[in-house]
């Protein structure tokens, strides 16, 4: 290879490593702001630490006495591995935030130091091939142009098209290719050179596998479903849990359906719990079915008279996530850790099959009846079994989808509760991220009207309690069949109503 071509390739590698370096920095900053919030602080500290680490790397390069080319190749491989795998590692650490911050800054320090080593080493490799003024001018030109390219590619192409995990894997591959090319161009020889080549090939394979695997964590088409960036996505045997984070707003989606938005979930959960519980001054034992996010329990625990809360949620991944991830614990007030709360990861129907104690108040917070499997949890059979664990003067409340968008579905649940031997009190509340939302309070006799609301509520007041029970004509009662195991009327109403409401 002639000298000119070698020079050009080495300068091109400056361009590539500059682009890669900035990409890793942007990935780290973005992830930090997704997962820790407060993007100004996160970006500022990530950039600061990264630049500082680059300084450390440059300083360390002074101690390198010989074999600059060999070291350069190894540093490239290492940057490819650590930088390329950084997004996947940080995503995986999301549920364990205790480890997240050390991992984040450790990774930034490591990548920054390695990247900081690269340019000085390259300058030394090129010093005999170019005049000093020309060398410095060219290297830094490529360096800064590469940075510009990265800063444009990142928001315009990489994040929307590839996602963070695949983007960082891809740039890891570029780093490794630069390493292999450098080893080739500089005609490095010896046993270690062969080993380096194999290591490079293996790394490329690992990073490409990472790109493919990230498709399993979160496919591109799935990412498009959500308006905001996905910060956590996991498929459990029971459902797909996805958390997204937008501007100051954290959202939970189960199987693609929004469960809450941190901005207005207090409206939903206050409306779910307090209209019933505030009218049961004797309530000591509370049962919550579904609702592994701990948000309904947060509201239940506002009632000082409540002595025990039993949570039955199918999915251990849900209760684990909401019991340990600090951002989510902040949201539910650490309710799942309360000494009053017992968490049982069981199928609600199977749990009710066994003899249980009785409860004064039961919160039924299942996902909407969008499948036959979920529809079973809204049947006369289910409510009759639930009735067996309800204290004679107790009450239960059921989240009942939207009485505006799925009017027949809502009134079908009411008809089902009545057919199961309950008196019902339907009510509704406006939750901006959901729209008009419905709940039904059910008991064996008329409940006392007097409500003792706990302090600190932001939505439910004596006035809202009254207005929630009024249904305007567009949501007024319609006659429906009760939902039974052998007709699953609800699932059909739900599907048809929502299809009409959303125009599909």
């Amino acid at each position: 290879m002639n000298e000119r071509a070698t020079r050009l390739l080495l300068l091109a590698s400056v361009f590539v490593i500059a682009t890669c370096g900035l990409i890793y920095e942007l990935v780290a900053g973005t992830l930090a702001s997704y997962l820790l919030g407060d993007s100004v602080t996160q970006f500022s500290t990530v950039i600061g630490v990264y630049l500082f680490a680059m300084g450390v790397g440059s300083w360390l390069s002074g101690f390198v006495r010989r074999n600059e080319a060999r070291l350069f190749v190894h540093v490239q491989l290492l940057v490819g591995l650590v930088g390329g795998g950084s997004a996947a590692l940080l995503f995986a650490l999301f549920p364990h935030v205790d480890a997240f911050r050390p991992a984040l800054y450790g990774m930034i320090l490591l990548v920054g130091t390695l990247v900081g080593l690269e340019i000085p080493l390259l300058l030394r490799i090129l010093k005999d091939r170019l005049a000093f003024n020309d060398l410095v001018a060219k290297v830094f030109t490529f360096d800064y142009v590469g940075a510009l390219l990265a800063s444009l590619l990142f928001p315009l192409v990489l994040v929307p098209r590839l996602g963070l995990i695949r983007a960082s894997c891809l740039f890891g591959v570029f780093n490794v290719l630069v390493a292999l090319m450098t080893a080739h161009v500089l005609q490095l020889r010896g046993r270690w050179a062969v080993a380096t080549r194999w290591a490079g090939v293996a790394l490329v394979a690992v990073l490409l596998a990472g790109m493919a695997f990230s498709g399993r964590i979160l496919s591109w088409s799935e990412a498009q479903m959500y308006a905001d960036p996905v910060v956590h996505a996991v498929s459990t045997p029971y459902q797909r849990i996805v958390l997204t984070r937008g501007a100051g707003d954290l959202r939970l989606h189960l199987n693609g359906n929004l469960q809450f938005s941190s901005r207005d979930e207090y409206r939903y959960h206050e409306a779910l719990v307090h209209p019933g519980l505030s009218r049961l001054p004797m309530a000591r034992r509370v049962l919550v079915l579904g609702g592994g996010d701990g948000l309904a329990i947060r509201e239940v625990l506002r009632h000082p008279g409540v002595e025990t809360v039993t949570l039955v949620d199918l999915d251990p991944a849900m209760t684990r996530l909401f019991g340990s991830q600090p951002m989510l614990r902040e949201l539910n007030g650490g309710s799942l850790d309360s000494g009053k709360v017992t968490v049982l990861n069981e199928d609600a129907f199977a749990w009710l099959e066994r003899p249980q104690g009785t409860y004064d108040f039961v919160v039924v917070d299942f996902p909407d009846p969008s499948s036959f499997g979920l529809g079973k949890l809204y049947t006369t059979t289910f409510y009759r079994r639930l009735g067996r664990v309800l204290a004679a003067d107790g009450a239960l409340v059921v989240q009942c989808t939207s009485p505006w968008a799925a009017r027949r579905a809502f009134w079908c649940i009411d008809a089902t509760l009545r057919a199961s031997g309950f008196e019902t009190e339907p009510y509704h509340a406006y939750v901006p991220s959901f729209g008009e939302w419905g709940f039904i309070l059910a008991s064996r006799g008329r409940m006392a009207e007097e409500a003792r609301l706990p302090g600190g509520l932001r939505f439910v007041t004596a006035e809202t309690l009254r207005s929630m029970r009024e249904f305007p004509p567009d949501m007024a009662r319609v006659a429906t069949e009760p939902n039974q195991l052998n007709n699953q009327a609800l699932v059909r109403y739900f599907e048809e109503d929502w299809a009409r409401a959303t125009g599909h």
Partner: protein, 526 residues
Amino acid sequence: MASGLGVAACMATACRPARRIEGTLSRPGMDAGHRWRDGHRPVPGAFEEVDVVVVGGGVSGLVAARELVRRPGWTVRVLELAGDLGGNASGGVMGGTGHPWGAHYVPVPGADAADLLGLFRELGVVTGEGTGGRPVYREEWLCHDPEERLFLHGRWQDGLVPQLGVSRGERDEIAAFLGRMEGFRRARGSDGRRAFAIPLDASSTDARWRGLDGETFASWLDREGFRGAALRWYVNYCCRDDFGMGASEVSAWAGIHYFASRDGAAANADGNAVLTWPEGNAWLAGRLREPVEARGWAMRGMMATRVEDEGDRVRVEAWNVAGKVAMGWRARHVVLAVPSFVASRLLGGHGPGAWPGQVHAPWLVANLWVEKVPSGRGAPLSWDNVLYEGRGLGYVVANHQSLRRVHDGRVLTYYLPLDHVDATTARREAAGWSWAEVRDLVMEDLGRAHPGLASATRRLDARVWGHGMVTPVPGTVWGGGRRGDARVGERVWLAHTDHAGISIFEEAHAQGLRAARGILGRLAEA
């Protein structure tokens, strides 16, 4: 060590390890039954004196024995060749879920089926009375929605009546046919009885209806102009499902009976709803046998070899298959709750003959443990899943009735009536099948709708029922051959669906009750 041997065996038989399906194939009672047929009649050394011996522990026999419990102080023996009671209503367990080995549902009965409703009240199947006096059924045991789907033109449609891609003209023809059947359902004879009733002995005696037993259903359909492919497939499927053979074999009376006999009434379900359990009718058999087992009356693995009326007693001889010992009883009465050809041979050729023309359909039933049923386009997994123009009848999801939201796996019960050739040839063919042949047959049939099924299946257990059920070919029901009188001599009572001509739970129940009540009535007279 054991696994090493397993691998060696696997290599020796060149099995395909990629599939990793395990399983067994059995032919209940075949070896012992054929030895007896060929003359094996060991004579017991001693005879136990009992009040009644019931030969056969299927539904008819269990109903009879259960009814005899009402006579306190009696000693009864129920002899069953198989290891478990239940007959066609037996079941098994796979991956923690029960599954059927045969009959798997009972339609909700009509308002006048007093005996059956009485049983259902006793068993808690009926929990009360609703509007208009109609029974309230226990909801868990009514078949859960979604009930049926049909794989047609590469998609699953709701319900079994072909709709998807079926021309307007053919759909009109199907509607016209179902309209005709509805007319038969409402029809009553000059004697005021329903034209097609259950039990079928309650049907009208009018010749205009009974005459339909003289021709095949196919010839009636041809004559009436019902010739469209979609309708004929559907009708044929229904006949195979209930009788083990298609419309060209069964009589027009029986075929119409399938569509026109049900007059179910329920306060909390459709009139055509069905009752079902994971283990199918084995659940009912399990409840029926409880009082029998509580008294220690059940004798399993016991093949009756000879029954002889001695005047004041009936002598019953049997062969204990496992213990290889002959045993004997002298009983005041005997109930022969076995197929008519077995009853005839037990009585030494006297009494009820396997009359000329009586046909028993051979069946294959396979249970598959599938981790996840491969999804297809269209309607979701249902209880009954049928493939249009499939070789078999499709499959029933045994744990469909489970209330859990998520399952470790599904048990699919696959049914195949062996009606591709005449019954005798089919029996001989199936007697030679290996398990691997059965596996391939099932996978080929279901694979059309579920290309990934073989790799999702972990276990496949199959049974061949050589004489699965009586098939109502022309003349079986009203041709004068079957024994409607229930009794041979003074002390031998017949109770089996063979004597009804169609093999359904309701008839078996009526048969068992008739025999037991006959015996109890005799004693009341004496």
